[in-house]
């Protein structure tokens, strides 16, 4: 094979690799353009007060998604409050307090949780959590709502929180902990007062990542949230998140109503974008 042929082949392969690299960016570009080109004109046509109003009623051309934004934020906040508390404490336990022999096993099992499809979480929620809340916890006899969705999501985000927090804790130099002990601190004081604060930017990244997962989760949420497009006033009340709104209507609606779903997608996209940018900033800050 002569030199020229090899050069040509190299160039061709370089082209293919470049195409692969660009493909993902191209897809991102397409989705962004589609969302904004369809959604923004719609929002400006129906008006901000209509679109960010509280009434979603398609036959009277009311496309208010404020109640869904609020519901999405509530679900995200509550699920992170539960998930992050359990997750960070789990990470701390695996970091110092758990019998050494169990650490690898527990970690692998928690990671296994990440591999369960979200529809299974939804199924678990709808067959176990919702009836349980309805029959034993809820004062109004309704199991659907923010609490059910948050409990399901809290379990879903556990693996993210645990593994990233644990990595962050492990990344803290050993001599911080040893130094604390040398100064007379107990092991608990060393972990909680020295190592944990030192790992806080990593743990914060875990929280933001978990929030991204929680706000974007659709399937598991749609099955346990209830779906009524009203402003949340209780955790035991049928409400609708932005993701549920899009998924519920996507196959049934047409015309303006379908475009309203794209516009909902724009808002959701902006929220996830903010979360992703803040992750990058946090990562940048910690390095």
């Amino acid at each position: 094979m002569n030199y020229k042929a090899i050069r040509a082949r190299d160039a061709a392969m370089r082209g293919i690799f470049l195409f692969c690299a660009i493909f993902a960016i191209f897809a991102l570009g397409c989705i962004t353009v589609f969302l904004f080109a369809e959604g923004l004109p719609f929002i400006s046509r129906v008006g901000l007060t209509n679109f960010f109003g509280t009434r979603w009623h398609l036959s009277s051309a009311s496309y208010g998604i404020l109640s869904m934004i609020v519901a999405s934020l509530y679900v995200t906040a509550l699920s992170c409050a539960i998930g992050v508390t359990i997750g960070v404490l789990t990470a701390l336990s695996l970091f110092k307090f758990c019998p050494r022999r169990l650490v690898a096993t527990i970690r692998q099992l928690i990671n296994l949780l990440a591999g369960i499809p979200s529809v299974i979480y939804g199924l678990f929620g709808i067959t176990i959590i919702v009836p349980f809340l309805r029959d034993y916890i809820s004062p109004v006899g309704i199991g659907y709502g923010i609490l059910a969705a948050s409990l399901v999501l809290a379990v879903m985000i556990l693996p993210t929180v645990v593994s990233i927090s644990l990595d962050a804790l492990n990344a803290v130099p050993k001599n911080y902990y040893e130094g604390a002990l040398a100064l007379g601190a107990t092991s608990e004081q060393g972990v909680f007062k020295v190592v944990l604060p030192a790992a806080k930017s990593g743990i914060f990244a875990a929280v933001v990542l978990a929030m991204g997962r929680a706000i974007g989760e659709t399937m598991a949420v749609i099955m346990v949230i209830g779906g009524s497009p009203v402003m949340p006033r209780s955790v035991f009340q049928s409400v609708r998140t932005m993701t549920a709104n899009i998924a519920m209507g996507a196959t049934e609606l047409s015309g303006d109503a379908a475009t309203a779903l794209v516009a909902t997608g724009v808002v959701l996209f902006v929220f996830t974008l903010i979360l992703n940018v803040s992750i990058s900033l946090l990562r940048g800050a910690s390095q």
Binding site: T105, T127, I142, M223
Partner: protein
């Protein structure tokens, strides 16, 4: 190696425990409905006592669903929004599983999809049965019809499709899809090999999905015929049939001559919607007015929120 082995063992044990636990928990949910179908319904309250102070858990379908549109239209709430406390299920299966598992739930579903483990209520004292829908006694039903100018039947292709709609093949599709067939003693369609041409059908989006299936079946029998089925709504159905734009228009309401003066109509099938509750619920009958109050967003002070408001 040993680590992953250990993991697998622990996973299996966990999974087994989980299955064992849920396996024990599940039967009561499943078996109680099965033992109390409509047979014990009238007077003997053998089922576990039903707490009438329980909230009514209103269940509905998502916006855009044909069943929802039909139901809201028939009970007189066309285009109205759902009450705030509604729980929305995005499919027939979701509605059924909610009613099956939640003693306080009430929902509506196309009659053809209602299974024996939920209880269909009488409406205004009339049971939701195929016979009652055929006779027009059961209120939450409506005819799905085609409207056409009688002249179009002079055309062989149109006449053949018209005949096909009454054939046993068509009736089978109608029943299989959960609609109520109103043709007794239907005969098999006779294929005419020489038939070729195209038919345009447009109108009601409620009839459209069924019509597409019927058209597909017809095209399979008569490969040289193509049928275009499009939507637009009942109004479009009347208009297109009257103006000759389509050979057949589809409507999902009682035929109104003034909307298409040159046309006549033929009922393709009927669409019945059952109101369903959990089998442990002692309620047997509901009035249309109560249903309207339940599903009315603007019911205000007259809203019924507890089962005691319905069970007297």
């Amino acid at each position: 190696m040993t680590n992953s082995f250990k993991t697998i063992i622990i996973t299996l044990v966990t999974a087994f425990l989980f299955v064992a636990c849920t396996g024990n928990a599940a039967p009561p949910v499943v078996t109680t409905p099965v033992t109390t179908p409509a047979t014990t319904a009238p007077t003997t309250p053998t089922a576990p006592a039903f707490d009438t102070s329980r909230s009514i858990s209103l269940t509905a379908r998502e916006d855009g669903s044909g069943t929802k549109t039909a139901f809201m239209e028939i009970i007189g709430l066309k285009g109205k929004a759902d009450p705030a406390n509604i729980v929305i299920q995005t499919g027939t299966a979701g509605v059924l599983s909610e009613v099956r598992s939640n003693p306080g739930a009430i929902a509506y579903e196309s009659l053809g999809y209602v299974t024996s483990d939920v209880k269909a209520l009488k409406v205004n004292g009339v049971a939701a049965t195929v016979a009652n829908i055929k006779d027009g006694l059961y209120k939450i039903s409506r005819p799905l019809s085609i409207v056409y100018n009688e002249d179009v039947l002079d055309d062989q292709v149109n006449a053949a499709f018209f005949a096909f709609l009454e054939s046993s093949e068509a009736q089978k599709i109608i029943s299989d899809k959960g609609y109520v067939s109103i043709v007794d003693n239907s005969k098999a369609y006779t294929i005419d090999g020489s038939l070729a041409g195209s038919i345009d059908v447009s109108g009601s989006t409620s009839l459209q999905p069924l019509m597409i299936l019927l058209a597909d079946a017809f095209e399979e029998l008569q490969p040289k015929v193509t049928i275009n089925v499009s939507g637009g709504g009942s109004g479009t159905g009347y208009k297109n049939a009257d103006e000759g734009v389509s050979e057949f228009g589809m409507i999902s309401e009682e035929f109104a001559l003034e909307k298409a003066p040159s046309c006549t109509h033929q009922i393709v099938c009927k669409d019945g919607i059952a109101v369903i509750v959990n089998p442990v619920n002692p309620l047997d009958n509901i009035t249309l007015e109560d249903l309207k109050t339940l599903y009315n967003e603007e019911a205000g002070a007259s809203a019924i929120t507890k089962w005691s408001g319905l069970i007297k």
